[in-house]
Subunit: 269 residues, 3 copies
């Protein structure tokens, strides 16, 4: 029943607002400000820290860890691995965003290292990235998707099976895959890809939801739904991507139970 799904999403959101879980992000330069703001708007407590001198200690006090390779370099990858191992040892969820996987060999090989070393609970990318993570030979065009989410479903299922991670594929309809199980989320708005880093924001929000929901599969779906709903609410008052970005933060902050109940398009298969 939609009502139950909406209640579950709302329950997570209320927990985030009540508990303000600390989400440790090792992410890219482009989105640090906007993902921190999205986490604050939703009620979580973000920290950005990447020095190898401190990431283990920071991952040691966080409730989830978000790794994003958008502007990777060797010392940052080393920090991601250190933090990932610490998170894994503590049993807190790790979210991996393989930005631009497939565009360069360095990105693709880094993703494979992170899959082994950090054992993410959730891998979130667009269709091209998810396919690239599975088929290392596949080339993506920069960081924008050139495959549909549906085309990536098989790849997501295989990757989920291999990695024992939930695989969340962003697209016009998001697919959240755990082994053979799929949740489809059809919320969102076509203008959203014209704001940089909303995919990265999705990964950060999954970090917040995974901190309060023991199922990474449901946490990822709930985060995608909340971001999509906030995006719809924002788009209704936005003539372009500049105002969309601003209204999106406002919507994450003001989001109320009826917004979720009225708008949620989530189907579990």
């Amino acid at each position: 029943m939609p009502g139950d799904a909406a209640q579950r999403v709302w329950a997570d959101l209320e927990r985030i607002r009540a508990e303000a879980p600390l989400v440790h992000n090792i992410t890219n330069y482009v989105v640090m400000n906007t993902t921190a703001n999205a986490l604050l708007a939703i009620g979580a407590s973000p920290v950005m820290a990447h020095a190898v001198e401190e990431v283990e200690e920071m991952a040691g006090i966080a409730r989830s860890l978000v790794l994003n390779i958008g502007t990777l370099s060797p010392v940052w990858v080393e920090a991601m691995i250190k933090a990932g191992r610490r998170a894994r040892a503590r049993g807190i969820p790790v979210i991996l965003d393989p930005v631009g996987a497939g565009a360069t060999h360095y990105r693709t090989s880094t993703v494979h290292r992170l899959l082994q070393e950090a054992a993410p609970s959730v891998i979130r990318g667009n269709a091209s990235e998810i396919r690239a993570v599975l088929y290392a030979e596949d080339a993506t065009k920069g960081v924008d998707s050139t495959h549909t989410a549906e085309e990536a479903l098989d790849a997501a299922r295989i990757l989920s099976g291999h990695s024992h991670a939930v695989v969340s594929v962003s697209g016009p309809a998001d697919l959240i895959v755990s082994g053979r199980s799929v949740i489809r989320v059809a919320n969102g708005h076509p203008m959203m890809p014209r704001v940089t880093g909303l995919g990265c924001t999705a990964a950060a929000l999954i970090g917040a939801f995974a901190a309060v929901n023991e199922s990474p599969w449901r946490a990822a779906a709930h985060a995608m739904a909340v971001l999509g709903i906030a995006g719809e609410m924002a788009a209704e008052r936005s003539p372009g991507p500049g105002s969309l970005q601003m209204h999106l933060l406002d919507a994450l902050y003001t989001l109320a139970e009826p917004d979720i109940r009225d708008r949620l398009k989530m189907v579990e298969e």
Copy 2:
């Protein structure tokens, strides 16, 4: 008299707008854009430069230096020390923002190095950070404050005495402490902590005010008042933190003398 205080704040703001002092920032990745925009909005001239190859030269032409450890790493700390020494030798004010001090040993020990090497004129943090700078053993939760400003007053007094710096403690009411003297600023809005980096913006604005006011104590208080007042003006038209961030920049830009006179809540003890 409030009128006099408002006149002093306004006089500083007019000087900043007339002189556009160059403020050299070595700050964190999350807030570089937003603190540069706040400095521009208020009429100052920001420059961000962190390479050890150039920081001494840049600090050599700036009128103040802002050091912020929000996303620190060894090469950045080295640059902060080089720039800090140069600023100290030139006698320009140095503002230190110990973001997340106490959260990791690396942050706390870096703050102690910077206190010795850069001899800041002003240390600005939230209550947890200020306490952590004083009591190295105290743990903070990430970068958000878990102590009230009042609880930090004693710590601020002791730290100010030890360091010979002004200590500015951000909170619902800001405390600006110089030895035994305290200015309390009660401006601001509860939504402001939901925008990332407004504490860092406070430190950057102190840099602008300290460039035009010889008293770092008054400069810090005036900056906190102006940020708080602009935050109040912004919050009145903002349903959430996205629009608050935008309106805050507009308010810093349009701030007029009556806004300060009508809203200033500053008490000197």
Copy 3:
């Protein structure tokens, strides 16, 4: 005829929106988010990548390369050189933004290395920066301009002659110089310099236009015109620089042919 000029600008914009050219940026931390958003708003496809491990491969799939030294450091400069050589070998346009050239010797000498190694098609800066690139002994004040664009015209002509690059000088009226030929663009708004990084945004947009227009001279002029027009449209509804930044992205996204035809102030000499 103005009509023809407007048609040429519009034709480029339509091609960018239709083809979404991949623009590879190695740029500064302050503006990564805002320049990515400007490129997305105009219809291009930005990628930010700076690791020496991947920049050649990324420049190998991009349609233009934008190099910006705003927050330079040695490993970033090395990456710029590697990417620049690859771009040069492939014959894709390279745009160089010498942010703060003249402020420190490190910046000035880096610009000279990049001129030799990357052979940019377009150099874009304010008057101080362009003069500093030519006269290494000239000092600029931080990253803001202290010379008028007109004063820089001679410098731009000489620099264009020496470097065989188009030189685009930003100011109240922009000058786009190719050898002895000049295009003047008088679009824009006085509030624009109060938003950080709009110069960097200009360089990024030149990257998008140069990807679809074989003449770097016209591409640079068209980009300056579009940014200036969008800035005018944004300023009309903006009380301050916070809202200007937001409305500017909306304007880049919604810009229609009549906006260009009605507002374009471009003169070719």
